[in-house]
C-alpha cells in the first residue's frame, strides 16, 4: 500500500512591532504652588525621630525628606536636614528588636537598647553651623515654635528648662525661635505638623498628677500661638500644608498592654482573692467596717489593679487601688518585670500589700477624655485656619482612624499594632520610614487637591519597616 504524506511546514512568525503599551506617562505638575524653598516645621515626627532616638537613617527618611524628594520632581529645591552623623542616636540610644531575658529567665524577642555610642553632651548640643529646611524639633509644643531663646544653651540649665537641646543644636543664634529660623529663609512653601506634644507629654506621663509636671496646653494658648505661626509663615505669600493631630490614645504606646491583661491560673486567682480579703479586713479595722474592693479574680484574663487617685477613703496610699476599666490605657513603658515578678498590677507578695500600677503608667477615663477633647479643640483651630488661609489640610486624624482597621498598600497591610503594624517604630509613638512615606503621601494628596498640583506619590514599599533580627 502506498501512503501519501503531505508535509506542511508552517513558519509562524508573530512579530510584534508597535506593541509598546501606550500607557499614559505620569506628568508631574506643581500646580499653583512653588516648592523651590520648602521648610518643614514640627516636632519629633517631623524631625524623623524613630525608635526612641534621632539618628541618621531615620532622619533621612523623615516624612518631610520624602516630601522634598517628591517636590523635587516638580521643581522643588534642595532640602537640608540637621543630620546626626551617627546611626546610634543623639542623646538617647535607639531601640532595636532583639532578645531579652525577663525576670523569670524567659528569653523573648522584644525591643531592646541597641549597643552603640549615641552622641552625648556636649558634642550633641554643638551648633551645626548651617541652615536647615527641616525645622522639626523633638519635644516641641506649639508655643515653643514662637519662643525666642528656645535654642539658648543657658536655658537648658533652668528648672524647668526653657530651651530644647535639639534646637540649641540647630539655632543660628541664642535668641532665635524656630519660626524666625524658618522666616529667615523666606520659604515659598511650608508644612506644619505641630500640637501632638501639647497633649502627648501629658499622656505619656500618665495624665493628671503626673510626676513630670506635664499639662495639656490650654485651647486659647494653642489658638494664639498657632494663628501667629500661620500669619507669619504666610506673610510673604508662601503656600503650605497644615496637618492635624491624630487621636494619640490610639497609638501603640497606649494600646499594647491591655487593661484586661492580668493572666491568672486558678491557684493564683484564689491566692489574690485571699490577699485582697486580708487587705479589706485591714481597711475595715480602720473604722470602715463595710469596706470592700469588690474584686473577684478568676482563672483567665483579669483587669489589672491600678492606683486609684480618687480613692474615697483616707487609708494608706498602698491600699488605694481599684481594677482598671476595659477602656483605660496602660502605657508601654510600664515595667514588665515588675508586673511579672513583683506583683505590680496585682499584689505585692513580698511586702504583703496591694500593688496597683502607678498612676504615671495609666490613663484613666477622665484623662483620656481630657486628651481627646483637647485634640478635638486643636483640630478645629487647625482646620479653620487652613480653610481661612487656603492652605492644604492634611487630615492625619482620619488616617490614623482608618489605620485602626488596617490599610493596605502594595500587598502590605498597615495598622496601629505595636511592631507588627508597620506604621509605628519601636518606641510606639514615632513613625517607621514606611509610616513616614504613608504620611508623606497623605500630605501629597492634600497638596495636590488644594493647589491643583500633580506631585508623584512616594513608593511606600521602597522604604523599610521594622527589621527582624536573624
Amino acid at each position: 500500500m502506498k501512503i501519501k504524506i503531505l508535509f506542511s511546514f508552517v513558519l509562524f512568525l508573530a512579530l510584534i512591532g508597535a506593541c509598546e503599551p501606550k500607557t499614559e506617562e505620569f506628568i508631574g505638575n506643581k500646580g499653583d504652588a512653588d516648592f523651590s524653598r520648602y521648610i518643614a516645621l514640627g516636632n519629633s515626627l517631623t524631625s524623623g525621630y524613630a525608635d526612641g532616638a534621632l539618628y541618621k537613617s531615620a532622619q533621612s527618611m523623615s516624612y518631610p525628606a520624602i516630601l522634598a524628594q517628591q517636590f523635587k520632581k516638580v521643581g522643588g529645591g534642595d532640602f537640608i536636614q540637621p543630620i546626626v552623623e551617627n546611626e546610634d542616636g543623639l542623646f538617647d540610644g535607639k531601640l532595636v528588636l532583639g532578645y531579652s531575658m525577663d525576670c523569670r529567665g524567659e528569653s523573648s524577642l522584644s525591643p531592646i537598647d541597641a549597643d552603640g555610642n549615641p552622641v552625648g553632651y556636649p558634642a550633641a548640643i554643638q551648633p551645626i553651623g548651617y541652615t536647615v529646611n527641616n525645622l522639626g524639633v523633638p519635644g516641641a509644643k506649639v508655643t515653643h515654635l514662637i519662643f525666642s531663646g528656645y535654642g539658648n544653651p543657658l536655658g537648658l540649665q533652668q528648672d524647668p528648662p526653657t530651651a530644647n537641646p535639639y534646637f540649641v543644636r540647630m539655632a543660628s543664634n541664642t535668641g532665635a525661635s524656630v519660626l524666625a529660623e524658618a522666616m529667615k529663609q523666606n520659604p515659598t512653601f511650608f508644612t506644619l505638623w505641630i500640637g501632638n506634644n501639647d497633649v502627648l507629654g501629658y499622656a505619656t506621663s500618665g495624665g493628671e498628677n503626673n510626676t513630670s509636671n506635664e499639662s495639656i496646653t490650654p485651647e486659647a494658648t494653642f489658638s494664639y500661638a498657632y494663628e501667629l505661626l500661620i500669619n507669619t509663615l504666610t506673610s510673604n505669600g508662601a503656600k503650605g500644608a497644615l496637618a492635624n493631630i491624630p487621636d494619640i490614645t490610639a497609638i501603640p504606646f497606649f494600646n499594647t498592654i491591655p487593661a484586661m491583661g492580668l493572666l491568672l491560673d486558678e491557684n493564683a486567682a484564689n491566692a489574690l482573692n485571699d490577699a485582697y480579703h486580708q487587705a479589706e479586713m485591714l481597711i475595715q479595722s480602720m473604722g470602715l467596717p463595710n469596706f470592700s474592693y469588690g474584686f473577684h479574680f478568676k482563672a483567665g484574663y483579669n483587669a489589672f489593679v491600678i492606683e486609684d487617685r480618687n480613692f474615697p477613703y483616707p487609708v494608706p496610699a498602698a491600699l488605694r487601688v481599684r481594677q482598671a476599666k476595659p477602656n483605660e490605657l496602660i502605657l508601654l513603658t510600664t515595667p514588665q518585670d515588675s508586673i511579672k515578678c513583683a506583683g505590680m498590677g496585682s499584689f505585692n507578695i513580698e511586702k504583703q500589700h496591694p500593688y496597683g500600677i502607678p498612676q504615671q503608667f495609666v490613663l484613666d477615663e477622665e484623662e483620656i477624655a481630657n486628651i481627646q477633647n483637647a485634640v478635638k479643640a486643636y483640630n478645629n483651630i487647625i482646620h479653620q485656619l487652613a480653610t481661612q488661609k487656603n492652605l492644604a489640610f492634611v487630615d492625619v486624624a482620619n488616617l490614623l482612624e482608618r489605620a485602626k482597621s488596617g490599610i493596605s498598600y502594595d500587598g502590605l497591610i498597615f495598622d496601629t499594632k505595636y511592631i507588627t503594624g508597620g506604621v509605628f517604630s519601636l518606641d510606639g509613638i514615632h513613625l517607621t520610614p514606611q509610616g513616614a512615606a504613608i504620611v508623606a503621601n497623605y500630605f501629597i494628596e492634600a497638596i495636590n487637591k488644594q493647589y491643583h498640583a500633580n506631585i508623584p506619590k512616594a513608593e511606600i514599599t521602597q522604604y523599610p519597616g521594622i527589621t527582624y533580627p536573624d
Binding site: 508535509f7 508552517v10 508573530a14 505620569f26 502594595d410
Partner: protein, 375 residues
C-alpha cells in the same frame, strides 16, 4: 493520505501580546492564526479539536497530525497612576505548544487527541520593585489533554465532543516584610476535568456556522508546598515549611462563528468569543499552619469579555493562498485591582498569513500577528 504539519511559531514580543486577554493563549493553528484567530466555523483539520470538535468529522485526510510551539518573549511594564514609578518585568521565554492528531474512523466518525496549553503566564519582576510583596515572580501553566470524537449526523450537520483532562501548576514567589531577604516560595500542581463540545452546521453549500463551548476548569491546588525564608527570630511564629491550598479558574469560552465562501477564491469568517473571566474573582491562599497570619485573599474581580474577530482567505493562484484578519481583545482585568501575575492590556490584533504549495506534498505556511496595546 496523511498530512503532517510541523509548525514553528515564533512569537517575539516586546510588550504583552498573546496574553493580552488575561492568561489565555489562542494560537493553535496556522490557518486560524492568519485569519484573526477565527476557527469555530472553519474546517481546518486536526486543530479543530481545539477550535470546534464539531468540524472534525469533515476531516479531508485519513490521518492528520499537526504540532507546534511558540516561543514567547513578553515583558510587562508597571506604571503607577499616582507616581512616576515604573517597573518592568524581565520575563523568561514561555513556550506554549500544541499537538493535534486526528483520523477518520468511518465515513461519519472521526477521532482525535489534542495536547495543548491554552492558558499560561510567566512574570518575573525586579527584586526591589514596589509590588514585590504581591508578587516577585510567577509561572502559571496548564497542559490540556483532549481525546475527541466527532460524528457527522447529516451532510450538513456534525457534532463533536472532547473530554478535557488538565494538569495545572503554579510556582510563585513573593517578598515578605520581615527583613530584606525574607520571601515565600509557593508551588503546587493539580489535575482537573472539563469538556469541549461543538457543532458545525452548513445551511447552504457556502455558509458554515459553528458553535463551540469549552467548559470552565477549576484547578484546585491542595497540599501545595510553601517554603518560607525568614529571619530566625520569626520562625517560632511562622513555620518555614508549610502547606497551602489555592484555586485557579481557567475560564469557559463560548465561541460563535460564521463563514461564507463568497466565491471560489474568497472565504470570509466572522466570529465572537465570549470568555467568562468573571470566575476569576479572588486569588486566595490558605495555609495549613499559622493560617491566621498568612492566609490572604487578593481580589481580582475580572470581567467577562467578548472578542470580535474577522478574517478572510483568498486563493491568488493554485499554489498560493493569502489570509488576513483582525480582532479586538478587551482586558478582563478590573481597573481597581492590580494583577501583577498576568498581562492585562487591551489589544488590537492584525493577522496575516499565506500558504504556498510549491510542489506536491509540501505546504509552506507563514503567519504573522501584529498586536497593538491599547490604553
Amino acid at each position: 493520505m496523511k498530512k503532517i504539519s510541523l509548525i514553528v511559531i515564533l512569537a517575539i514580543m516586546n510588550c504583552s501580546g498573546l496574553f493580552a486577554g488575561g492568561y489565555q493563549v489562542r494560537l493553535q493553528g496556522a490557518r486560524q492564526s492568519g485569519m484573526g484567530l477565527t476557527g469555530t466555523s472553519l474546517i481546518s483539520g486536526a486543530s479543530d479539536i481545539f477550535y470546534n470538535p464539531g468540524s472534525l468529522s469533515f476531516l479531508s485526510n485519513k490521518f492528520e497530525f499537526t504540532a507546534g510551539g511558540n516561543l514567547v518573549f513578553s515583558s510587562v511594564e508597571f506604571r503607577s497612576l499616582e507616581s512616576d514609578y515604573i517597573a518592568k518585568t524581565d520575563n523568561p521565554a514561555s513556550t506554549p505548544f500544541f499537538f493535534y492528531g486526528a483520523g477518520k474512523i468511518s465515513n461519519n466518525w472521526a477521532a482525535g487527541l489534542g495536547i495543548y496549553t491554552p492558558y499560561g503566564s510567566k512574570a518575573q519582576w525586579p527584586e526591589d520593585w514596589s509590588g514585590r510583596y504581591l508578587i516577585q515572580n510567577i509561572a502559571l501553566s496548564s497542559i490540556y489533554f483532549q481525546p475527541t470524537l466527532s460524528y457527522q449526523i447529516t451532510d450538513n450537520l456534525s457534532l463533536g465532543a472532547g473530554l478535557v483532562w488538565v494538569i495545572g501548576s503554579v510556582d510563585l514567589q513573593k517578598a515578605l516584610p520581615y527583613n530584606e531577604h525574607s520571601y515565600v516560595q509557593l508551588n503546587g500542581s493539580a489535575t482537573a476535568f472539563g469538556f469541549n463540545i461543538g457543532v458545525l452546521f452548513k445551511p447552504t453549500q457556502t455558509i458554515h456556522i459553528g458553535v463551540d463551548y469549552r467548559s470552565k476548569i477549576e484547578i484546585s491546588l491542595e497540599d501545595g508546598d510553601a517554603e518560607f525564608h525568614l529571619p530566625s527570630s520569626i520562625t517560632s511564629i511562622i513555620p518555614t515549611n508549610n502547606k497551602f491550598s489555592s484555586s485557579l479558574p481557567l475560564p469557559a469560552n463560548l465561541d460563535f462563528g460564521i463563514s461564507w465562501q463568497v466565491s471560489q477564491r474568497l472565504l470570509l469568517s466572522l466570529e465572537m468569543n465570549w470568555v467568562m473571566w468573571n470566575c476569576y474573582d479572588t486569588l486566595t491562599f490558605t495555609f495549613a499552619q499559622s493560617g491566621e497570619l498568612l492566609n490572604n485573599k487578593n481580589p481580582r474581580l475580572y470581567n467577562n469579555t467578548v472578542i470580535p474577530r474577522a478574517g478572510l482567505e483568498y486563493q491568488i493562484q493554485s499554489k498560493l493562498k493569502i489570509r488576513t484578519g483582525i480582532y479586538y481583545d478587551d482586558s478582563p482585568a478590573n481597573d481597581d485591582y492590580f494583577s501583577p501575575e498576568t498581562v492585562t492590556l487591551n489589544t488590537l490584533g492584525f493577522t496575516f498569513g499565506l500558504t504556498y504549495h510549491p510542489i506536491e506534498n509540501l505546504n509552506i505556511d507563514l503567519s504573522f500577528v501584529q498586536l497593538m496595546g491599547m490604553e
